[in-house]
Symmetry: D2
Subunit: 355 residues, 4 copies
């Protein structure tokens, strides 16, 4: 019963088989190999875009390199207050950008709202060169609360950002789960909605370690090559990144993996909603369930071998009125989560004493 | 009628005379001169502390160097949402610290409250090494709203910060005005209240350009010398910084200058409170008046030669209900402001048509 | 006939099999998994040292993170003028250290000499805080010229460095080839000789992508964890790094791979020395051959499918008197190089017309 | 007898009088004042160029900001091995540029030679993105050895740099002494020779603290304003920088001050050349004398109150054959050096026992 994170699963069989094949023989290093080129084309085809594409090993690197390409060291990067780039990547954005400032908005909501963004961008306190100005909006799809921005929400947020001269980055560590959840074309929630640069993550959804930085707005990629090299993120045996991405995108494999994970999360949600001990916070839109559980229940579940994280209480909307005895938990499903895992977990949940 | 900023005045006569004297002859460079040493002793005596003291030319340098001595590049610096280090120094703190993160709290208040700080520090979302942790609390005395923290408020804020392992910096660009306003010993609102490092500004209150970084917590100064040098802030003719500070602190000169500025602000406040066209936002505690004025009044005052800044509307407490026709203004007095300036200004204010 | 680089080969069968096994099931992320712990112990056992060990994906990251742990931003890192960290990692050391300075010594030799190092360290031009001071000596074993420092050479260089207060880093991208070449214990050319921190590379010698930073001097590791995280080098699925290293070190596998590569280089050297068209520059000590060839010969070899790099002419010792028609080539062998590759290459070389 | 450095003198009477005048009244802050504007025009007129001009307080800031405008963090800045930016500004260039690399050439000569520069730039080891590429050539005029590049030498160096795509920076901390020494137009050894950006120093030659960054190549100034602000080098009371520069350039004052200093150095040189105890190393071209003296002579001179620095022995050309008992000294004259100072010094020198 592992619901700790989707990065606790390994690679899917198809992805791993591709790695095995790519491992044969000798090939050019540093991305000058056929697997890398094939993966670039696979992403261009998948997104129906002549994007510039670069591969790295970690999501933090993908996000931080993208942001460093999009901002000057004296500018501001806006994001949601719960964004991974703000709360889970130490100060990688500051490091890669040379000291740009991160500002998190809408702490009390599960998504960044158009109202908040518009108000922030129009507050007009600028007196250059004394104050920093926003240059980038970074959105997370799927959000840290497991929510998914609709096509319309994205388009509206990007439009406001562009009106004020910002470019838009998307942290797509769980982008596949969003596409599967919305059942839309990948372009619809990326470049067609106004996203300039996408961090496309495969690691959480079936790869060993493979992330792509996709520049739909190609001039923004101007400095990517030196930035990637000097940050130690140009791998010598580039083929293993390319091979993973090619297999992952091949024939809809990535969306099958994501759809399975999403289905497991919905099963969990349904079971938890039916259980008096648990209170689901936000409706499941992808592969994450957030719920309020009494502490004794959490202890019993863990004693039975369930693995999951507790979540900061201050991220919960105030109308939930958390008691002292309640805690917030996050359950994440992956392509490896089985129905049996879910059923077993729900059985333990229903059997738990509320204390 | 210059109320734009206290940095629009030059040096006081006494300070300038000291410069003239120091300019004679030849002396050792880079701070190895008698004026610098004398100024260090003057600060130690004034604060009744064996502090480590260093001089620089600008307030931004003093603040950013202090913060760089107090934090690692992967840590957080907390401050008030209106703090100068956050809004008026571009991204100097990020540059000097190598990418530490600035977080502004209590946007809706004129001071940082104990409640907000305590809540932030105890929210407990830490999961190292993924999230950045706060290392420094930076307080501004006088605040950007012209308010002054009481001795008790400072002691409480510093105590909470220290309990959570933070050290405390104070941006004292107008520290003299706070001492004059509270009529207290300088130590009472610095090291005795728990401040570890003080940026002590003379520039805004009678010097040409002279700021001191005062390390009451002396081990924190360990890296100041190389950081100052590589940031270009070790001046060769150090005597002119030392000479200014010695004269400024000599025989209470600094507090006389500050007390005069404060008196002029109080005169302004009284006159504006009595005028139906204007609404004073916060009670004057030092040398700044913040008020709401109808736009036509502002135009008429400027036409008469009055110089002052408009202030961001979103910094005004919500219960003031600003109308579309209102604007916020900031009036700053200095040691050079005369009663005649104030009287003239108030005359024009009372004569203005509200439109 | 691939002699371009040892990073053009994939993973060995044993290493890849370990990856396949580690890919099963679900395990803790970010290095809290059994494979990572096992790999740490394997390195400690191999080196007979309670070293602190951390894993990353690239050699540039391993080197730059090690150097960032060993120096302040205002200090100097000394290395050989041909060092990889100086010539092949863009400005990664400067980026990770926050601006420390790289100085390359002994441009005209194939190794750093004790004389040059001693002279540099004793030249005594220090006038702090104006000049930067050396803090780290970085040695490369195997060197960029394919040479190997003897145990005695290393001990002498480290001793001089330590006498002057420097710590010693070793770039061991081809450390395995050095151990195999010297037929010594790994400790003898690392901590026993005085090396404080080793970048131990597996990627060039049988792994897909796996590098370890080994802190024999453990207090130097104090900042490694935040530095690795904020540079995006903490991989989520840490098991694939651990699994590679465990398998690589298991039962002498790494040294068998290296010894094979070295043997192939020796075969090449012998054949080339016997051929009038080519002139071997330095005796082979590991898995690299450097030779002077007439340009027409190079063209013919490439037309036959041989892959290798040309090398900067100014790295060749002056007594070789390169003619205009000569070029320098580097041939690198790996665990995948076969005797047939070598024989075929030598056949083409002997058949080539010198033009 | 102060020959320690020209930064040990204060401001000239004319410069200080201008400061006194500028100190009156109230004026706009941050460079939006009439003195600053007047100084910009004075520099444009003096150089006969519509250059972009910015003021800072220190030479290190001027140099580092200029270099940060001219290079990316992954590029190389070339300079002479004895350059101030390399040996006397800690790692300010690395800090301001975000980690660009400094490379010093021609350690054994007193100037950078065309041969060395040409050879370096054409060595052709580039294999992007792995190696850093040179972007800037920084020349020092007057050099650290007190030598002056001729117009022809400068033009040739700049031409080679430009051919290879580099831009040229000049560290002109003693630019006035070079103009006075060559008796040429300031444009002839700056933009007409190919210099793109000049750090023009007044501090060493009659100002209290005033340096200008002069962008003849104006697009290079694009990032100067934010870089200056976030490094804490935008002074609030900008008028005192402007006032100094205006007075300094007014009516040839700067060149009179420099010519006096140069004359004093020539007097020193003549006297020292005639004294058997001392050996002048390079002919005096500006306001610095470098000489070899026996250690006992140095001690006797210091006992008599003479102030000067010893210089690194390894900077002396090898044909001088320094004995163990010899030391190298640097004597610097300034606008405040009197003939009496020189005569007294020479008297003590001639009277000293060689030991």
């Amino acid at each position: 019963m592992y619901f700790g994170s989707d990065n606790q699963s390994g690679a899917s069989d198809a992805v791993f088989a591709a790695l095995a094949q790519a491992n044969q023989g000798i090939s050019a290093a540093y991305g000058d190999d056929e697997w890398t080129q094939q993966a670039v084309r696979a992403i261009q085809t998948t997104f129906d875009s002549p994007a510039e594409v670069f591969f790295v090993s970690t999501g933090t690197a993908a996000n931080a390199l993208a942001l460093a390409c999009m901002s000057s060291p004296w500018q501001i990067i806006l994001c949601h207050a719960q964004a991974h780039i703000l709360n889970d990547e130490l100060t990688a954005p500051e490091f890669f950008t040379g000291g740009a400032r991160m500002i998190g908005l809408d702490a009390g909501r599960e998504k960044l709202s158009l109202e908040t963004l518009s108000q922030y961008l129009s507050q007009g306190s600028a007196h250059p060169p004394h104050n920093a100005e926003p240059a980038v909006l970074s959105l997370t799809q799927v959000t840290e609360s497991g929510q998914v921005y609709s096509i319309e929400e994205l388009a509206a947020l990007c439009a406001v950002a562009h009106q004020h001269g910002l470019t838009v980055h998307m942290d797509g560590a769980r982008f596949a789960n969003a596409v599967a959840g919305l059942n839309c074309h990948p372009a619809a929630i990326s470049w067609q909605a106004g996203v300039d640069v996408l961090s496309l993550g495969a690691t959480k959804n079936g790869a060993l370690s493979a992330e792509a930085i996709v520049f739909f707005n190609r001039p923004l990629a101007a400095n990517l090559v030196p930035l990637r090299k000097r940050s130690g993120h140009l791998v010598s045996k580039g083929r293993w990144l390319g091979a993973q991405f090619s297999a992952w995108l091949n024939d809809g494999h990535w969306l099958e993996l994501a759809a399975h994970a999403n289905r497991m999360a919905t099963l969990l949600e349904q079971g938890m909603a039916a259980c008096p001990a648990s209170q689901v916070i936000w409706p499941v839109a992808a592969n994450e369930v957030f719920a309020i559980l009494p502490s004794p229940v959490i202890e019993q579940l863990r004693a039975q071998g369930a693995v999951f994280y507790q979540w900061p209480r201050h991220f919960v909307p105030s109308h939930f009125n958390l008691s002292e005895h309640d805690e917030v938990v996050r359950l994440v499903t992956s392509f490896r989560t089985s129905e049996a895992d879910v059923t077993t977990f729900l059985g333990h949940l229903n059997a738990a004493e509320r204390g």
